[in-house]
Symmetry: C2
Subunit: 276 residues, 2 copies
């Protein structure tokens, strides 16, 4: 019998993004588009004398979670489970930061609002260098289009009005800090172009097309991901690469139709919540 | 076999609000707080030679729905069902306006974004005079705090981070146009005070307390609603009046604990969606 507080945060595959730096981590972040997934992170937070973080039974270090707990002046046992792979473009670290913020606020009666907690988790992810836009997207749900960077006080988020089946297939990991920490000018230009395409035509078709174009223009498309995307296209489907991981996502049944043993999920309509 | 598009929009009980007029209906609206409910409106929109609107099997006139269809240059058969009573403070007309916007956009490939559709539905409700803030709240879900009035391009929405059981009990109807169309200075002052209380302490307890205070200060509390609220309080619960209807809502099981045959619902975490 645990008196911990439980949270659920959707996963988030990013299709395209920009890097918008700022000295203030609540203003820094990224613009871009992604899909919140019904596969997400389920977690429990219990106040404890010392902070420990467990993901799928393994003790891990996760800077974003530690930053959140330190901002909330808390030590806690954070226990998380997810069907999503870490480091493969699903926003697992963002989910853990956001879930920790929501659950710790409730467990310790910190009296903060939803947006304040999102701001804390977003700033923690940015400081940790593990993500720029996942937290904001995971706080909203759906198919968010982040038109301005930063936390809720600074950004502007719209969405593609579609809630359909989504499949994904992971080949391996990519390091977010390695990509985001380097020269990102070309990446940002490609991200702006992709975002404009989807703003012009806010559908999942154009979202997938823009994501494909972004992965090429930003120079992030790996050979193995390109092979899968091509195979899906040849089978009549539509797929693109998830940022940042060696992961392919497809709207509808594109991956299974092409013969891949893909995991089936769906657009998750809500943002992060506590289980009550 | 119908080729209509189906939408679900949560109900919304308003606890307190202001009236913020503007010549531009996308800037007009209200600030305030409410609860999105898992009881909502399920609807189907099918393009048709002539517009008809049916709610729970009865043909009705609903100006907000007609404004939405006219903005989208569409005629449609709109069929809606809901467990919520009309005119009793649950945002049924806002739900129908928003659901019509989302479903018509999909049925006729209008290519608009989520926020654009919310803006159209919000403007339609404001023009119809049947609501000021429900649409924006129903587009978000949760326990929205509308800190700035208007549609998504102009407003700022935060939320109480709680997702719990909610009960409601309806005694009768109140006319939104009658209240909102009159002198609203005292009401707006009371609404601002209530909103400040909940911003200061964003919990469902303070939300219910602020709602109770608002209904008294705005002079909207009816005798029969007051009796129910008092009975719930005496039984150890916590309840307040829903704006604008002769409806009492309670967090948790306050109404059934006090012996009322109340309907049980829950905070609905997501905004309006299409069924896919």
């Amino acid at each position: 019998m645990s008196d911990g507080v439980r949270a659920f945060v959707p996963g988030h595959v990013t299709g395209f993004f920009t890097v918008d730096r700022d000295d203030d981590p609540t203003k820094a972040g990224s613009r871009g588009g992604g899909i919140a997934l019904s596969d997400g992170v389920s977690m429990t937070v219990e106040p404890a004398p010392e902070t420990t973080v467990t993901l799928d039974g393994e003790t891990i270090e996760m800077a974003a979670v530690e930053h959140v707990l330190s901002t909330l002046r808390a030590d806690a046992r954070v226990t998380a489970e997810t069907p999503l792979p870490l480091g493969a473009g699903f926003g697992v670290s963002g989910a853990m930061a956001l879930g920790t913020a929501l659950a710790t606020n409730a467990a310790l009666d910190r009296g903060l609002s939803y947006n304040e907690l999102v701001t804390i988790a977003h700033g923690a992810e940015v400081k940790a260098g593990t993500g720029l836009g996942d937290v904001v997207a995971q706080a909203r749900g759906g198919v968010p289009l982040r038109l301005e960077p930063g936390g809720p006080q600074h950004n502007y988020v719209d969405a593609v009005p579609d809630w359909t089946r989504v499949e994904y297939y992971t080949l391996g990991e990519l390091s977010t800090p390695d990509v985001v920490g380097g020269d990102t000018e070309a990446l940002t230009t490609a991200g702006e172009r992709a975002l404009s395409m989807v703003v012009e035509e806010p559908t999942l078709d154009s979202f997938t097309r823009a994501s494909r174009q972004f992965s090429r223009e930003a120079g992030l498309l790996t050979e193995s991901v390109r092979d899968v995307v091509t195979t899906v296209t040849e089978a009549g489907g539509d797929a693109a690469m998830a940022m940042l991981g060696e992961t392919v996502f497809a709207v509808g049944t594109g991956l299974t139709d092409a013969g891949y043993d893909a995991r089936s999920s769906a657009v998750y309509p809500a943002g992060a919540t506590l289980d009550t």
